[in-house]
Amino acid sequence: MSAEAVVEVRGLVKRFGDLEVLKGIDLKVREGETVVLLGVSGSGKSTLLRCINFMETPTEGRVFESGKLVGTEKNGRMVYRERELCALRTRIGMVFQHFNLFPHMTALQNVMEGQTTVLRESREAAEKNAIEQLRRVGLEDKAFEYPARLSGGQKQRVAIARALSMNPRVMLFDEVTSALDPELVGEVLKAIRQLADEGMTMIIVTHELGFAYHVADRVLFLDGGEIIEQGPPAEILVKPETRRAKEFLEGHSLFKLPD
């Protein structure tokens, strides 16, 4: 594991009108690291994720990608160019809670789209890579199906393949199993876990504590827009120090700590 931070945020603040969702977050994610963000809804974990690939523009603070500052500073304020952000997003993959597959395209076309339209790769190269990515999530036999004919778990795995097809340096997962039927959660988590084993750098927002326990290198606990606790899952999930973290874990009665 190298020391270089793939993603770093410093003093990140996000306000929606009067509402301050993030109150100065500092976070460094090293190459190959899997970071899991936990917290009750409204704690700011999704917003933090969305600020990293600029789906939301941070109100204050800096974001660095592979050591490079995103945007330029002008009179003490950050200015972001659309072109720079589009390029940045090709290097930061994101998977959403509701899959958001393109319904007018087959699974294969979904995975090819970013490569051909954004990266301007040839159809042949894009198709070859797309099939490879679909194989990676175990769906090469569904390549020619439209999303309407796929199950929720399959859709989400296609969405993962679509993000992977851009060959990103880091992957962001925003509650990707929350909209799935319980019996379909496993196949998606398995695909993510496999990525972790392959050494992919990942930041994951999830409510699956068992999964967090097994896959995370580090767990961050967010509350009221601040990181109140962080560390290895065996410490944070087993003996949390803060009252808020304890309450949160007790609320998830399904999570049984391993002995």
Binding site: F96, H104, T106, E113, G114, A163
Partner: protein
């Protein structure tokens, strides 16, 4: 029911009706193109952020949606030449009235079609690095057009039928010619029956063609 139907006099004057049909097709082809393209521009305008684009576009839509086309055509023909020094032909007056009305209604179809696409589609496109134009062209419009096709077909049908309103300023189209035949031969019932049938014969295949288009767009369902 002892009315004696007599289509003989209509067929004898079919060349008069034929000239009218040509006029109808002429005005339809111009108004449907101007109306649907104008509507696309106005619809995008209503979707734009700056108020100086959005404002006038909204006023345009509301004004032309809520005034009768017949009155507009008469107004363009008689009142417009008083206000601006141009010669307004019956054709121009009718084209203005029908095109602007079609544009106003179709603008709402375009705007609604684009807005009906889930925000998640914009997000997913953004997340793989697409810019606004790429997202619109590759992701949003292909889905939106599929939803817009049935209401746009309706606008096309309406534009075709509205062409008969051009007869009010004596433009030579089907209804105008039918009036002529009817008044010369005292056979309005037969003449207008033929006119109605002629409209059906032209419109029905056109509508069928759009169903084929809809199926082509709908293959992913």
């Amino acid at each position: 029911m002892n009315y004696q139907w007599d289509f003989q006099t209509v067929w004898e004057n079919f060349d008069v009706l034929w000239i009218g049909l040509i006029g109808t097709l002429k005005i339809f082809s111009v108004t449907v193109v101007l109306g649907l393209f104008g509507g696309l521009i106005v619809g995008m305008g209503r979707y734009a952020r700056p108020i100086w684009i959005r404002g006038p576009a909204s006023i345009f839509v509301e004004f032309f949606r809520n005034t009768p086309v017949l009155v507009q055509i008469i107004w363009f023909y008689f009142a417009l030449p008083i206000l601006v020094p141009i010669n307004v032909s019956p054709f121009l007056a009718a084209v203005l009235g029908i095109s602007l009305n079609t544009a106003a209604f179709s603008a709402e179809i375009y705007r609604g079609g684009i807005q009906s696409i889930e925000p998640g589609q914009w997000e997913a496109a953004k997340a793989i690095g697409m810019n606004y134009a790429q997202t619109m062209r590759r992701i949003i419009l292909p889905q939106a057009i599929k939803r817009m096709l049935p209401p746009l077909t309706n606008r096309g049908i309406e534009a075709f039928k509205m062409s008969t309103l051009a007869s009010v300023v004596a433009y030579v189209e089907t209804l105008n010619q039918a009036k002529l035949i009817a008044s010369l031969n005292f056979n309005p019932i037969e003449t207008y029956s033929v006119v109605a049938f002629a409209f059906f014969v032209i419109l029905y295949p056109l509508v069928q063609a759009t169903y084929v288009l809809e199926r082509m767009f709908g293959k992913s369902d």
